[in-house]
């Protein structure tokens, strides 16, 4: 019997999950890495630490199931998207810490680059600090001598997929889904687009070759490395959303709603992103519309680590259940500005509706409810763009263990919320794409047969309460925008 090992290089940790042919989990290993905050709004990772952790979790996951590399049919990779690293081609040493997707240091640069929609037609993305291109430009401008080295071809750029594949196999490649998050790739040609590349002044020599999401890039310890997908696209793949109109929302650090739009990119009128969903080998790419919410699970982590009212993320449900409602408090976690559908980098977080009545239980409720209301906003945008109302929301990710949140989500969306039997769809998607590439699974139809409903929550909220809650939420959101001033760092 052989297995597929998926490597998930995430925002807070790296994991390796080994799957069997039915999509069942055989073993899991995980290591957290440091979050480096040099200044408010800046977030960095040590790429070397991440590579060390990835090697360790692969070793641990195999050891836990008493497996060797010979038992693994392929490695698949999924990763935190947009996080940007540049390294020396000769030594393999990063020239600077990786700049993480949440980092807002490129705010001023974004304003200089002009209108928010300048590259939307070509890249599918609004100009925002979120994406890799501006982060790369910042490195080129701020790391001494980097631009000259880049022009001489001595340093390489990559997102985390590229960094891992380069370390695992020696090849300098990325996949279409990760490349679609740089703002440097053209959505139609699926190649680097000269216009944004020159606007951001990026030497072409440092960019990786763009490949499909499901093919053998090389080998590691004799095992094919056979997939790369950005984490949200991997979850779409793991939820087997292969038909246009199918979609999912993943709850991790942030929340990401993606809907498959088929072989044509659809431009959003409502603040959603157009992105590549996946590309299997030589087949045409599947595109997706995406509603990206920056902070959901990260708010629960913040509540645990910085406020200290709970000692584990799961305890927030216990605390929230000590009260019946939010007591009138709303928490808008615009920690790094607001993402979809607002795209306001000048916004910062707000707790609105505070009174002397508010207890820590109410705050816990407000923290959880923030994830649901933010989802409501992107679902509304998705419905407006597609002209068709969502009838069921497929969810996944660690926060789906929170029953109170899932019920509230169903209540505010007024549609059933369904969790599939493998909540770890991100890893599963990377495993599926790698397994398809090496013939471990015969077809996407075989993968669809593995999808089963594990839980379902039905809406039960009074419509008037839902409308009032949403109205208050929107008022709270209004109070976050425009907080940052010119002289703020």
């Amino acid at each position: 019997m052989s297995y597929i090992a998926a490597i998930d290089q995430g925002t807070t940790s790296s994991r390796c999950i080994v799957f069997d042919q039915s999509g069942g989990i055989v073993s899991v290993a995980q290591r957290e890495h440091r979050q480096i905050f040099p200044k408010p709004g800046w977030v960095e990772h040590d790429a070397t630490e991440i590579w060390t952790n990835v090697q360790a979790v692969v070793r641990d996951a195999l050891a836990k199931a008493s497996l060797t590399h010979a038992d693994i049919a392929a490695f698949g990779i999924t990763n935190q998207r947009e996080t940007t690293v540049v390294w020396d081609r000769r030594t393999g040493e990063p020239v600077h810490n990786a700049i993480v997707w949440q980092d807002t240091r490129t705010d001023a640069l974004i304003k200089q680059l002009g209108d928010q929609d300048r590259f939307r037609e070509r890249s599918g993305l609004p100009l925002a600090t979120y994406f890799s291109g501006p982060k790369l430009r910042w490195l080129l401008d701020n790391v001494e001598g980097l631009r000259a080295k880049a022009e001489r071809g001595e340093v390489l750029f990559g997102t985390m997929d590229t960094w891992l594949i380069w370390n695992l196999t020696g090849r300098h490649v990325t996949d279409v889904t990760n490349a679609s998050r740089t703002m440097l790739m053209n959505l139609e040609t699926l190649d680097w687009d000269p216009e944004p590349v020159s606007a951001m002044d990026v030497p072409l020599a440092m960019l990786p070759e763009i490949r499909s999401s499901s093919e053998v890039y090389g080998t590691y310890e004799g095992v094919p490395v056979a997939s790369a997908l950005g984490d949200q696209q991997a979850a779409l793949f793991g939820q087997t959303c292969f038909t246009p109109g199918e979609g999912k929302c993943t709850y991790g650090t942030g929340a990401f709603l993606l809907i498959n739009t088929g072989d044509q990119p659809v431009r959003s009128q409502n603040g959603l992103l157009t992105t590549v969903g996946y590309k299997i080998g030589d087949e045409p790419a599947a595109y997706a519309l995406e509603g990206a919410v920056a902070v959901t699970g990260a708010l629960v982590q913040w509540f645990r680590d910085k406020v200290g009212l709970i000692s584990s993320a799961a305890e927030i449900e216990t605390l929230a259940r000590t009260v019946d409602d939010n007591g009138g408090a709303y928490f808008v976690p615009a920690f790094s500005g607001l993402f979809a559908p607002h795209w306001r980098s000048d916004a910062r977080g707000v707790i609105a509706g505070l009174t002397g009545y508010i207890s820590r239980g109410h705050l816990a409720r407000a923290v959880l409810e923030a994830s649901a209301w933010q989802t409501r906003e992107v679902v509304d945008a998705m419905n407006a763009d597609s002209g068709v109302d969502l009838t069921t929301l497929r969810v996944d990710g660690g926060m789906t263990a929170n029953n109170l949140l899932m019920q509230f989500l169903s209540d505010v969306l007024d549609v059933p919320v369904v969790r599939p039997i493998v909540a770890e769809t991100t890893c599963l998607g990377a495993a599926y794409a790698a397994g398809l590439a090496v013939g471990y699974w015969p077809s996407i139809e075989a993968l669809k047969a593995n999808w089963h409903k594990a839980a379902e929550w039905e809406p039960s909220m009074d419509p008037a309460a839902r409308d009032k809650g949403y109205r208050k939420w929107k008022k709270a959101v209004e109070r976050t925008v425009g907080w940052m001033d010119e002289d703020d760092d």
Binding site: S312, A314, V422, A423
Partner: protein, 251 residues
């Protein structure tokens, strides 16, 4: 039912006061002033609490603070939501392998509280019953929890002619302790069976049980036989994996 016991209420007040003080320790006099109680009363309460380890003194005759035994009690409680979060992957995998519904239970008074439920993976219409209470004596989950815990007081209701009596249960719980898993056969609902195994925390204490349930014809070779060993092994493997997640097993 007798009314509230005053000395326990007063002891609780003393503990709360010490807890609010944090690192700041309190003398008998300070406590007696704060709670408006006579010094000898406070002294008696503190002496008793000290004997059971709930309060400590740094030096003989010195001020009091909360004792280590209290924290051990506090941390042995495992949050049901935490258990669900830790068990998510393994209960899913169990449902996929066994092709049956999975539940995770903890004791809640005299009943089994369902803290997690995974649907049977056939995409049929099923309702989530997280938060439901099950009778312990007629379910595999309950038998595991009581076998490794305390026998709750109270009458045991007979649900079917197969529901076990007290004596039969006592014998079966011994087997459960030996085998480290439990089953029920027609005992809650005629024609239904369940299998469960214990989840242990890092001290080896049973903090929950995970199991599957379904029709006897799918779970057992024949209607009067215990569940199939293949299914038992899936359940036990899931229980071990969740225990490992809680730091309860190193292998």
């Amino acid at each position: 039912m007798p009314g509230p016991i005053q000395s326990i209420q007063r002891a609780a007040e003393v503990l709360k006061l010490l807890a609010h003080g944090g690192a700041h320790q309190l003398s008998v006099g300070e406590i007696s002033r704060a709670l408006d109680l006579a010094k000898p009363t406070v002294h008696g309460i503190l002496r008793t609490l000290q004997e059971v380890g709930f309060v400590e003194q740094e030096v003989e005759g010195g001020k009091y603070r909360l004792g280590a035994a209290l924290f051990q009690i506090g941390t042995s409680y495992l949050d049901g939501n935490e258990l669900r979060a830790k068990a998510l992957n393994w209960s899913d995998t169990l449902a996929m392998r066994a092709r049956e519904a999975v539940r995770i239970g903890v004791m809640h008074g005299k009943h089994v509280l369902v803290v997690h439920h995974v649907f049977r993976p056939d995409n049929s219409r099923q309702a989530l019953d997280t938060g439901a209470l099950l009778p312990w004596h007629a379910t595999a989950l309950g038998k595991v929890l009581v076998a490794f815990g305390e026998w709750p007081d109270g009458e045991l209701q007979r649900f079917t002619r197969h529901t076990l009596t007290d004596d039969a249960l006592h014998t079966q719980l011994n087997d459960v302790r030996d085998r480290d898993w439990a089953y029920d056969l027609h005992e809650l609902v005629a024609g239904e069976a369940s299998v469960a195994a214990p989840i242990r925390d890092k001290r080896g204490v049973v903090v929950g049980a995970v199991g599957i349930s379904g029709p006897v014809e799918r779970l057992c070779e024949s209607p009067d036989q215990p569940p199939r060993l293949e299914l038992v092994s899936y359940v036990r493997e899931a229980a071990r994996s969740v225990s490992r997640e809680l730091g309860g097993l190193s292998w």
